[in-house]
């Protein structure tokens, strides 16, 4: 049977992708950001999953205001990098795992989560920047990726509790898949940041630290945090942190934090990154 081996969270800042693509990672501004992922790159090389279920949000790339699915799972064979206004990122095409993706879709829908099934979808920086941070610049990504897009652009986004419970449903789905696969779940976005209006640039280190602590130790309490608290305390785009609860819900209650990195700033954002390992 398939199993969830580990989960990780990371911010998915577009400027980080640009720094990688333009060969600027060694510059003094960027060096501390990328240094924070050195351990993780070694770690994942030694724990290579067969499949990553990558939870992210689309930033008006695949989904405009014409259709706004709350949860959308990519079931296609492949997903092309999106042109977000300056041409697609020069990164490999993302290879999906249609069989597992369809199984997760079926299992979670029967578990009463109304997933949107997507067979054609370009993937933007929300999905490709985390891959670049962990895998660098390979000719092909070293594992399959199932995109799971969450609406956090149009209000209301799903509640933290809904995300937490979806994570638990994904765990049940993966563990009932009849193939011998190592699966990771990644939650992306965050941490505190505000990209709009006169309050742009907001950072809240205390909120972020409490969130990182709670993610491992008391995720059920985090799942009760209302949207208004995210927006007030972590900035309008800090709402992306609800996606981290999908990752956490998919991991075991006693998952262990093996890596934590926090850095301010990358562009307009506080970078947060943790790795959680499931007990063997």
């Amino acid at each position: 049977m398939a199993r969830i081996t580990a989960g990780l969270t990371t911010s998915h800042i577009p400027a980080v992708g640009a720094a990688i693509d333009l060969g600027r990672t060694g510059e003094p501004y960027w060096r501390p950001v990328f240094a924070g992922y050195e351990f993780s790159k070694r770690w994942i090389a030694g724990h290579m999953p067969d499949v990553v279920v990558l939870v992210y949000n689309d930033h008006a790339s695949a989904f405009s205001l014409e259709m706004i699915p709350t949860f959308a799972i990519g079931c296609a064979e492949s997903f092309a990098p999106a042109d977000e206004g300056w041409g697609p990122r020069p990164v490999p095409v993302v290879r999906g795992h249609p069989e597992l993706a369809w199984h997760i879709a079926q299992s979670t829908i029967l578990d009463e989560f109304d997933m949107t099934i997507v067979n054609r979808m370009d993937v933007d920086h929300g999905l490709t920047v985390p891959l670049s941070l962990l895998f660098g610049q390979p000719a092909a990504w070293p594992c399959k990726v199932i995109p799971l897009a969450v609406n956090v652009v149009q209000y209301p986004p799903p509640t933290g509790n809904r995300c937490w419970n979806l994570g638990r449903a994904i765990r049940r789905a993966v563990e009932s898949f009849d193939q011998d696969l190592d699966v990771m779940v990644w939650g992306t976005g965050g941490m505190s940041h505000q990209l709009q209006g006169p309050r742009a640039g907001l950072i809240n280190r205390e909120f972020d630290t409490r969130f990182l602590d709670g993610l491992t130790k008391d995720p059920e309490a985090l799942a009760r945090v209302p949207h208004v608290e995210y927006v007030r305390e972590a900035g309008s785009e800090g709402i992306e942190l609800v996606m981290w609860l999908i990752m956490r819900g998919a991991l075991a209650p006693d998952a262990r934090e093996v890596c934590r990195f926090y850095h301010v700033p990358a562009s307009n954002t506080a970078v947060g990154h943790v790795i959680l390992e499931n007990p063997r």
Partner: protein
Amino acid sequence: MAGYNEAFRDIPGTTVFDATQSRLGYHLNQFCMSLMKAENRAAFKADERAYLETFPMTPEQRQAVLDRDYNRMIALGGNIYFLAKIGATDGFSFQNLASKMTGMPEDEYKAMMVAGGRPIRGNRSKSDKDS
């Protein structure tokens, strides 16, 4: 659900992209979406007014785009992820857009971020400015 939308209005300098904003800004945001295609970016750059006329936006929305007044575009229903495509078409970084919205020169905004960002204290609540 009572009071859900109202609760956000106490947060200073922030517009939540709720149903009201989404209805107001539908065509403005769909115009932004069109800038994901290289040929549309070229058409927009060649004649901004004429290109904007092809979308059923309000005159105020068109003017805000021409003025590159991002706060005004947000007030008129624009969403920042959509509006960012105008900035990308202009060749500006997101940090440049952010500094424009805060009214700070870009180097000052950048220095604020390097120093740890805009502090939360004093920026939580319109009704309680000391929180």
